[in-house]
C-alpha cells in the first residue's frame, strides 16, 4: 500500500512516456503564452492559408494567423477548461458520494437515484443539449463537462467509501465520539482520495473529448478564443486546400487525450495495484 504517488511510474514505460509527453505539451503551451518565440496567436497579416514555411512552422489559417501559436494556446485552453470543470465536478461529486455511502438510508437513495438519472443520458448528447440550451460559449462547455462527470464521480466515490466506511477504524472514531465532519475529513476522504484522483484523470480526458466535440460543432469555445476543438471547427471548411489546419490540431488533440489516459492508467496501477 503506497502512502503517496511515486513519480515517475516505477517500471511503467508507457505511463512514463505519456507523462513526459504531457509535460512537454504543457511546457510548450506555457512558453507560447509567455514568450513570442512561436509567434502570436492573434496577429493577422500573414499570407492566408499558406502551407508550412519559414516563419510559419505550421502554416496559416484563413485570416493569415500562424497556426502554431494558436495550437499552443489551444492546448492550454483544452487542458485548463477540462481540468477546471472536472475539479468542480470532483469536489461536488465526492462530497455527495461520501455522504451517501456513510449516511446510507434516505440520503443514499436520493443521491444514488440522482446520479442514475444523470447517468442515463448519453454523455455527448447531453453535453450538446446543454450547450444548445445555454448560450454557446466557454461556460456552457464547462457546465456540460460538469454535468456529465458528476454522476460517475458520485458512483465511484460512493463505492469506494462503502468499502472504507464499514472498517473498524471508522467504528472506533464513532466510539470516541468523533463528529461526522471529522470522520469525513480525516477517515473517509484520505482513504478514497486515490480512487478520486484516478477517476479525475480519466474524466479530464473524457472532458476534453466532450469539449472538443462541442467546440467542433461551434457550441463551445468561441472565437477569438481557441481550443483544439474550435480550431478543428475553424479549419474544417478548408480541409481540401489547407489540410494542415485540421490535421495539426487533430493530431495534437489525440496525443493530449491519449497521454492523459495513459497517465490515468499509470496512476491506477500505482494507487490500486490489487487489480493487476
Amino acid at each position: 500500500m503506497s502512502t503517496g504517488i511515486r513519480m515517475p511510474f516505477h517500471g511503467e514505460a508507457l505511463a512514463r512516456a505519456a507523462t513526459m509527453a504531457l509535460a512537454m505539451l504543457i511546457a510548450l503551451s506555457i512558453l507560447g503564452l509567455t514568450t513570442s518565440f512561436f509567434g502570436s496567436p492573434t496577429a493577422l497579416g500573414g499570407p492566408p492559408l499558406s502551407a508550412p514555411t519559414q516563419g510559419y512552422p505550421l502554416g496559416t489559417d484563413q485570416l493569415g494567423r500562424s497556426l502554431l501559436p494558436r495550437i499552443l494556446a489551444g492546448i492550454r485552453v483544452t487542458i485548463v477548461l477540462s481540468s477546471f470543470a472536472v475539479m468542480i465536478a470532483a469536489m461536488v461529486g465526492s462530497l455527495l458520494g461520501i455522504l451517501a455511502a456513510y449516511l446510507r438510508g434516505i440520503v443514499d437513495e436520493i443521491v444514488a437515484r440522482l446520479a442514475d438519472l444523470m447517468f442515463s443520458f448519453p454523455a455527448i448528447l447531453l453535453a450538446i443539449l446543454i450547450s444548445a440550451i445555454l448560450r454557446p460559449g466557454t461556460p456552457s462547455a464547462i457546465s456540460a463537462i460538469i454535468i456529465v462527470t458528476l454522476p460517475i464521480m458520485i458512483r465511484i466515490v460512493r463505492a469506494a467509501t462503502l468499502a472504507v466506511a464499514g472498517q473498524d477504524f471508522v467504528i472506533q472514531a464513532q466510539i470516541a465520539g468523533a463528529g461526522i465532519g471529522r470522520i469525513l475529513a480525516l477517515h473517509l476522504l484520505p482513504n478514497v482520495a486515490g480512487a478520486i484522483v484516478v477517476q479525475a484523470a480519466y474524466s479530464i480526458s473524457f472532458g476534453m473529448i466532450i469539449e472538443s466535440g462541442i467546440s467542433f460543432l461551434g457550441l463551445g469555445v468561441q472565437p477569438p478564443g481557441a481550443s483544439l476543438g474550435s480550431l478543428l471547427h475553424d479549419g474544417r471548411l478548408y480541409l481540401s486546400v489547407a489540410p494542415w489546419l485540421v490535421f495539426a490540431p487533430g493530431f495534437v488533440l489525440a496525443i493530449t487525450i491519449l497521454s492523459v489516459n495513459l497517465v490515468g492508467d499509470g496512476l491506477r496501477r500505482t494507487i490500486d495495484p490489487v487489480l493487476e
Binding site: 502512502t3 472498517q167 477504524f169
Partner: protein
C-alpha cells in the same frame, strides 16, 4: 449486589426487522438479558456466531439502542449520560488490519479519543500517547510509524493503547485475539490481564474461543440464541460443565480432554 455494577444490562432485548412490509421478518439477536459487570471484573462472553455476543458488545458501547430494556453505566441509563459517555467506554475489535486508519500515523490514531474528547494541549496529548504505547510494551518511536509497518500483534497492542488513553470505565474486547497467531495470543492476553490489575478497568471479553475466555475472564457467560445458558466464575470452565451445551463446546476445543497433559 454489594458494590454497584459498572455496566448493567437490564432486561435488554434487541430485535432486527427486515423484509418488505407484507412479509416482515423479525430476528431476535438478544432476548431479555440481564448482565452485570462489577468493578475490575472481566466478563468473558462466549458464544458461536448468531449467539448475540457481538450485539451485546455493541449495546454496551452505545453503538446500538435496545429494542426493550435499558443499558446502564454506573447506575444511570445511557440516555441520561448524553455526550458524556465518550471517554468512559472503549473497544478493541477483531481485525488488526482494519482497526487503524492506514493514512494516519500510530500516534495520531492513539491520540484520537483524547483529541475528540476536547483535549487541546499538544504536549499533554503527546505525553499521554507515549505513556500508553510504553504501557503496552511497544518500543519508543513507534508513534511515528504507519499501520502497515506493524505486525498483527503490534497493531492489537496499539488498539489497546488507544482504548486505555481516556482511562475508560469499560473496555469491550470483541474477538480481540482471534485473528492472531497462537504464540501471540498469550502475549496480548497477558497484557490485558496485567493492565487490568494496574489500571483497574472493567472489561467484556467477547470470544468464541473457550480457552481464551477462561484464561482472561474472572466471570463467564455462555450465550446461545440470544440468551444466557450458563454463567459463573471463569475458573469453573477448567472443569467439565454440567450444562450440555457448554460441555459440548469444551469438548470440541479439547479443553477437557484427559489425554492432554496440563502444564
Amino acid at each position: 449486589m454489594t458494590t454497584p455494577a459498572v455496566i448493567n444490562l437490564d432486561n435488554v432485548t434487541k430485535r432486527y426487522f427486515g423484509g418488505p412490509p407484507w412479509r416482515r421478518r423479525t430476528v431476535t439477536a438478544v432476548d431479555a438479558i440481564d448482565v452485570a459487570i462489577g468493578e475490575g471484573e472481566t466478563l468473558a462472553l462466549v458464544g458461536e456466531s448468531g449467539s448475540g455476543k457481538t450485539t451485546i458488545g455493541r449495546l454496551c458501547l452505545g453503538l446500538l439502542q435496545p429494542t426493550a430494556g435499558r443499558v446502564l453505566l454506573e447506575g444511570h441509563p445511557f440516555s441520561a449520560w448524553r455526550g458524556k459517555l465518550r471517554g468512559r467506554l472503549a473497544a478493541v475489535l477483531q481485525h488488526p488490519q482494519s482497526s487503524l486508519n492506514p493514512r494516519l500515523r500510530i500516534g495520531t490514531s492513539v491520540a484520537e479519543p483524547l483529541v475528540v474528547g476536547g483535549s487541546r494541549a499538544r504536549d499533554e496529548v503527546s505525553r499521554k500517547v507515549i505513556e500508553m504505547l510504553d504501557a503496552v510494551g511497544l518500543a519508543a518511536g513507534i508513534e511515528r510509524r504507519y499501520p502497515h509497518e506493524l505486525s498483527g500483534g503490534q497493531r492489537q497492542r496499539v488498539a489497546i493503547a488507544r482504548a486505555l488513553i481516556t482511562a475508560p470505565r469499560l473496555i469491550v474486547f470483541d474477538e480481540a485475539v482471534s485473528a492472531l497467531d497462537v504464540s501471540v495470543q498469550a502475549q496480548v492476553l497477558n497484557l490485558i490481564k496485567d493492565l487490568q490489575q494496574q489500571v483497574g478497568f472493567s472489561a467484556i471479553f467477547i470470544t468464541h474461543d473457550l480457552a481464551a475466555a477462561r484464561y482472561v475472564g474472572s466471570t463467564f457467560a455462555v450465550l446461545r440464541g440470544g440468551a444466557v445458558v450458563e454463567s459463573g466464575p471463569a475458573a469453573r470452565l477448567y472443569e467439565a460443565s454440567s450444562h450440555p451445551y457448554t460441555r459440548g463446546l469444551q469438548e470440541a476445543s479439547g479443553l477437557i480432554d484427559p489425554a492432554i497433559v496440563r502444564v
